[in-house]
């Protein structure tokens, strides 16, 4: 990102190659190693996350489970699972998909491959240290920033290395016209280093005092969920949906409108009313959250109009991932805005409704959208098809059923829990018992998501085996040919 005109522009037509688009197959060849590394490690993390999540969920059936080990206590397993999902899977796969989209939208080869692979390795080292750190009791105690300090350095440097690769790729693009997907992708790239370094500096490095820590943490969490994941997911949705049905996006300008409104107001809705803070903070939060309803509806209109009643929807296998992702985005976004209203917050705040909304965003929207993108990208990188098409559909239905069976019971249970808690005549233990049924149903959702995640990893392994076999067979054939010639 330079303010001065790029050499590509200042030297018109001196080099034919610089403005001619690179063929898609060549772009995919340049992306192969770094992006496969990011996507496969992300798939490993999503499985780890759901295994940890499953352990956490089972504790509501048998609190005594693994109770003799500090490593697997609920207060450690739960944040570890969430961090593995958010940073290990969501951010890593998100970066992989962003890189691939930037290369294809710019019709240029991926630049800085070595840096990206090194960055990916650092990211995974940081993740491993972070998750083990949380399980070992080194959690910082801040929501979604639980990973200890020693883990955040490799994470941050890894991100910067991947991000620089993305910016270089963007800079050498040959298609100068920007699409709204590129806006979202680039903004997401810029966003994270700033919010992460601010939050780490003011919470872990030089902690601010008292309740300000809560303000900063909420600000960070909301920026990460609404803006980073919102942008990365929307970039994928606005790219893949038009591409799969071979129609242009309904409106580029609605895309830009969504970008601006989300960028400006998306990060405000962080602080629920009733918090131990000056009243202007929750008030401003409610205002910002309500303003995000407008871009959410704009996303709905844009996707709906793009999709139309196109017959191609049924043909494409990955389409359902993106449509489900859009729907989850709209519902979780609206729920996230409405739950800050005073009258709603007084009931649902501090209940299971919050994790239900958050998981719908992180898994229903982000993860399922990224699953679709992975299923689209990986066969192109390896130049071979997935061995089983049924298993792709299987991933989708398991993931979709899983997130629904997780969110719906928890949302209902959360509302009932909130109503019960506000009725002081009911003893607390009774309120908890009544919401326990819903919690236990949600374990089925956790289990289905675990199966979906395993299926994704299995599919990725199988396609690699298949691609490896093809390569080996070709090499063998070449070898025996030459051997034959020699003989």
């Amino acid at each position: 990102m330079r303010a001065t005109p790029s050499p590509a522009q200042s030297l018109p037509a001196s080099d034919e190659g610089i403005s001619t688009p690179v063929p898609a197959a060549e772009i995919d060849a340049s992306c192969r190693a770094p992006i496969l590394f990011l996507l496969v490690s992300a798939a490993v993390w999503v499985v780890i996350s759901s295994v940890l999540g499953m352990i956490g969920s089972l504790k509501f059936h048998a609190p005594g489970l693994l109770a003799d080990s500090a490593f697997f206590t609920y207060g450690r397993v739960h944040p570890a699972a969430l961090n593995a999902l958010v940073y290990g899977f969501g951010m890593q796969a998100g970066l992989g998909v962003i890189l691939w989209m930037l290369a294809h939208l710019g019709r240029t080869r991926l630049v800085g491959n070595v840096g990206i692979v090194m960055g990916g390795i650092l990211w995974n080292i940081g993740m491993t240290a972070g998750v083990l750190g949380i399980l070992g009791g080194d959690s910082t105690g801040y929501q979604l920033l639980e990973m200890p300090r020693y883990a955040t350095f490799p994470l941050f440097i890894g991100y910067l290395m991947i991000g620089i690769g993305a910016l270089l790729t963007f800079h050498t693009r040959r298609e100068r016209q920007l699409s709204s997907s590129q806006w979202f992708a680039l903004a997401a790239l810029f966003w994270f280093p700033w919010i992460f370094s601010t939050a780490e500096f003011f919470l872990v490095g030089h902690p601010v005092r008292g309740a300000l820590q809560m303000v900063l943490d909420s600000w960070y969490v909301n920026n990460l969920k609404t803006v980073w994941f919102g942008f990365a997911g929307l970039a994928a949705i606005f790219y893949f949906i038009p591409k799969l049905i071979e129609r242009p996006l309904y409106s580029h300008y609605i895309g830009l409108f969504v970008f601006w409104t989300l960028a400006l107001f998306g990060s405000w809705g962080a602080i629920p009313p009733g918090s131990p803070l000056p009243e202007w903070l929750p008030t401003l939060s409610i205002m910002g959250a309500l303003l995000t309803i407008v871009p959410i509806l704009a996303v709905a209109i844009n996707v709906y109009r793009t999709k139309g009643d196109c017959a191609k929807i049924k043909e494409s296998r990955s389409m359902k991932f993106f449509l489900f992702g859009t729907l989850a985005y709209i519902i979780s976004g609206l729920a996230g805005a409405v739950m800050l209203l005073r009258r709603v917050s007084v009931v649902v705040n501090f209940t299971w409704f919050l994790p239900a909304q958050s998981q719908l965003l992180l898994y229903g929207f982000v993860a399922i959208t990224l699953f679709g993108a992975i299923y689209h990208i990986v066969p192109r990188l390896l130049q071979t098809e997935f061995p089983s098409k049924g298993m792709i559909c299987g991933t989708f239905f398991l993931a979709a059923a899983g997130i629904l069976l997780y969110c719906v019971p928890l949302a209902i249970g959360g509302i009932l829990q909130g109503l019960g808690m506000n009725d002081a005549a009911k003893p607390f233990s009774e309120v908890m018992n009544s919401s326990l049924v819903f919690l236990r149903i949600s374990t089925i959702g956790d289990f289905l998501m675990l199966l979906a995640n395993c299926l994704l990893l299995l599919n990725l392994i199988r396609i690699h085996v298949r691609a490896g076999r093809t390569v080996a067979a070709a090499a063998w054939a070449a070898h025996s040919n030459t051997a034959g010639v020699r003989a």
């Binding site: 790029s6 960028a263 400006l264 131990p276």
Partner: protein
């Protein structure tokens, strides 16, 4: 059209707005909070935690107690927090930002799988009862989903027949008494230190209509107490 730098500037501008509003402005307003001295009692508030409780705070953090317990009580009339007896102040305002001045980290929590602990130290001052609950939550609440924190306890001496277990043991199993580790003792000390009972004048009174929300007698009392603490002065 080379709009790359423009995307950068747009993101920068949008993030700067959010940063000014939610990072800088609260810091300017609340960043210089000091201990205050109450004219009514002469105490300074909030207290800095003493050694054991300070270590216990780290045990609370390391084991992620905040994954299930909040430490914030919403103001009277907003939800059932006060009516449940979780509040520590006899006023409309409950938790305020001063309460967390010395918390490192401040663990306000986001979900109540268990009860709020902001004032657990006012409700229970007996460390042994707290420790018994931590060792085996289902003993006191048969349907509790709180995990038993057995790893915070260890086997003590073997009891002879008829011998009484010592006062700080939490249970007797197979003839051995179960005693808390230092970590568990620190945790109990921390829990007992959790109390938000000093009356403080809030930065901005919450938007309640006391006549609707709470009975008139309470509102009058609350108004009276607010007047009292109006006279709080910063400690030296």
């Amino acid at each position: 059209m080379n709009a790359g730098p423009f995307v950068f500037l747009a993101s920068f501008f949008a993030l700067a707005v959010s940063w000014l509003g939610f990072v800088l402005a609260p810091q300017l307003q609340l960043g210089n909070r000091q201990q205050v001295e109450s004219r009514t009692t002469g105490d300074v508030y909030p207290h800095m935690r003493a050694g054991m409780a300070r270590q216990g705070e780290q045990v609370y953090r390391a084991n992620g107690c905040n994954a299930c317990h909040t430490q914030q009580v919403r103001y009277k009339g907003f939800g059932g927090d006060y009516a449940r007896g979780w509040g520590g102040r006899d006023s409309v305002v409950q938790s305020v930002d001063e309460d967390y001045l010395y918390d490192r980290p401040a663990m306000l929590g986001t979900i109540r799988v268990g009860p709020d602990l902001a004032n657990i130290g006012l409700r229970q001052t007996n460390a042994n009862i707290l420790l018994q609950h931590i060792y085996s939550p289902t003993n006191s609440f048969p349907h509790s989903v709180m995990p038993p924190y057995r790893y915070l306890f260890e086997k003590g001496r073997k009891l002879a027949i008829g011998q009484k277990a010592s006062d700080d043991s939490v249970a007797v199993e197979k003839g051995y008494e179960i005693v808390p580790t230092d970590e568990a003792r620190a945790l109990a000390a921390y829990l007992i230190s959790l109390r938000q009972n000093e009356l403080l004048y809030p930065e901005t009174p919450p938007l309640t209509k006391p006549t609707n929300a709470v009975p008139a007698t309470n509102a009058v009392k609350a108004a009276a107490s607010t007047n009292n603490v109006n006279t709080n002065t910063p400690a030296k």
